[in-house]
Amino acid sequence: MNSVTHPIAPEEVMALLDGELSQFDAQAVSAHLEDCVECASLAERLRATSQSLSEWIVPPVPSSLEESVLIHAAKTTHSPLPAMAGRSIQLSFWNWRLWAVGAGGAVTVVLVLVAIAASMIYHEDHSRHASLAMNEMVTNQDAAGNAKPQSAAGQSFEEDKQSAGFAAGHLQQMGGAGGAGIASIGALAVPAPMIARTVSLTIVVKDFAATRTLLDSIVARHHGYAAQLTAATAENAPPSLQASLRIPAPELAAAIDELKALGRVQNESQSGEEVTQQHTDLAARLKNSRETEERLRAILEQRTGKIEDVLQVEEEIARVRGEIESIEAEQQVLEHRVEFVSVDLQLTEEYTAQLNPPSGSVSNRLHNAFVTGLRNAAETVLGLVLLLEEYGPALLIWLAILGLPILLLGRRYRKLRAKH
């Protein structure tokens, strides 16, 4: 049957018999069937096929199935869900979802709020503690400064004098109220705390060059110096400066204020390390070493022993002297850390992207890009070859071990699926 001899397709004959054609098409096909023997034969074959299928009947539904389903239906009807569904099926569905989502959302919100509140309380508490500690420290320093004149008498140790004198000086620098009368202190009953402070500042400025000059003048004005300074001006990046400044402790507050005025402060942190114990230990060790040295010198002045003994004493004096100098150096470093606050400063200019003119002609750039692309492609291919060389044999072994069972199982699965 073809469209040249038959104006209708064979599927249309089938559709007519299935009642799937419109009235107009059905009339046309019916008229054709009356005239065309071949199409009538096709229709007869289709009818015969359906007639044959009608012989494939199945037994009636078992009564046990009916009972089981109807019992379930009765239970479902008496459950509250279908009854509620009477109002609106969609509403009922969404109600369930909304309740679940709403409850979950509410729990999440509460948890988030609790977490935020706890975090805020913690930070507040933490900062309050830090503030109290700072106040306490300052109070102690003040108290120590006031106490020094009262406890000045009766102390004769030179080392203690030096130590106490330095501590008093330090407190004076820190701005303690009792700092004025400290010069006459001989020694302290209670050693004043010594704090080595560190400040970190990150500032974004508008004009980097001008700020750089201002920075130098601030440091000079406050009698500080830069222990380390690095300035960088990279392409397509803002100029920046990283410096480790040393500012005398009494000048710190003013210097920090001036530094902050340079631009917008992005980050600021301050910390302090108490080195009182270390300093006291060094002072004690220094005192002992000096006493030892004095005793050794006294022994040497008597010169009653043999020449070997004299030489041995001299060697010992030299060793003790070295020890004293080492301790003194260590003490000076410690005192310097207290006297000069370390300020880690990072200055960055506000970045404004520059439209740089292209370096080189367009053809050169295209050529370079093409060469780079070829090189990348070659490297990729080479990488793949190397990868295959490196892992290929192992992969083949694994493929042989796993591939065959997978292939067989896949075939079996497909076969069974088709059979099913």
């Binding site: 064979p10 599927e11 089938m14 559709a15 018999l17 299935d18 009642g19 799937e20 074959r45 289709l46 009818r47 015969a48 096929t49 359906s50 007639q51 044959s52 299928l53 009608s54 012989e55 494939w56 009947i57 199945v58 037994p59 009636p60 539904v61 078992p62 199935l65 009916e66 089981s68 389903v69 109807l70 379930h72 239906a73 009765a74 479902t76 009807t77 008496h78 869900l81 279908p82 009854a83 509620m84 569904a85 009477g86 099926i89 969609q90 009922s92 569905f93 199982l409 079996r412 699965y413 069974l416 699926r417 088709a418 059979k419 099913h420």
Partner: protein, 222 residues
């Protein structure tokens, strides 16, 4: 038998089926003259009328059982799947939306259950070594013709077979089949035609073989 009647090829006088737009309409429908539509019954059931489901079940128990019985080899399994199909409809009754024919909805649920069943049994047979049930179910009322038909239908391509069964026994329209199997309408039509042609050839072949054998035997007798 109470089974669904075969395709309307044989029953062109059969009552036309409701279309997708024949949504249940409480105010218009005159329940005293015509039986309530499937969709209206389902909506009534979702509103708590247990009798509505009984009517639906009476209407569809045999077609659904036939749907599974013709596709599943084990009769007990077919029974179980039928029950599962109705229970799934019961569970989802509150969510039922009468924007599609209930019958299409029912068979769509049935297809899903059938697919799950097939997947599970195939998986078990492949990986756990369980035996698949034989292609032919236990023939209780063994009739030669019935066995031949079942065998012939089993030889059809899988998708063609499904389309043919849906048309012939579940009496779904081309559009409903296309909707159910997610196929273009023309594909459904062409595949159905192909399946019927192939089935005609398959059913004709045994008859000719029988005739040839009978002729040979009579020739020998002579």
């Amino acid at each position: 038998m109470q089974d669904a009647l075969p395709a309307s090829v044989l029953h062109s006088e059969a009552k036309s089926r409701p279309t997708m737009n024949d949504a249940p309409n409480d105010s218009v429908a005159d329940s005293s003259q015509a039986p309530p539509s499937d969709e209206k019954l389902m909506v009534d059931f979702s509103r708590g009328q247990a009798d509505a489901f009984s009517v639906l079940f009476t209407r569809y128990k045999q077609p659904v059982f036939g749907f599974f019985r013709r596709r599943v080899t084990d009769p007990a399994q077919a029974e179980e799947l039928t029950q599962e199909n109705f229970l799934a409809v019961l569970r989802a009754a509150a969510r039922y939306q009468p924007d599609a024919l209930f019958r299409t909805y029912l068979y769509a649920v049935g297809f899903k259950i059938l697919r799950d069943y097939r997947r599970k049994t195939t998986f078990r047979a492949t990986f756990l070594g369980e035996q698949l049930p034989d292609r032919e179910p236990v023939i209780e009322d063994a009739i030669e013709a019935k066995a031949l038909i079942r065998d012939a239908v089993g030889k059809l391509e899988r998708l063609d077979r499904e389309i043919l069964l849906l048309r012939e026994f579940e009496q779904l329209s081309y559009a409903e089949i296309a909707d159910l199997l997610c196929l273009p309408l023309n594909t459904v039509r062409s595949r159905l035609f192909r399946a019927r042609q192939a089935l005609y050839d398959l059913l004709a072949a045994p008859a000719s073989q029988f005739a040839t054998r009978e002729f040979a035997e009579s020739k020998e007798r002579l």
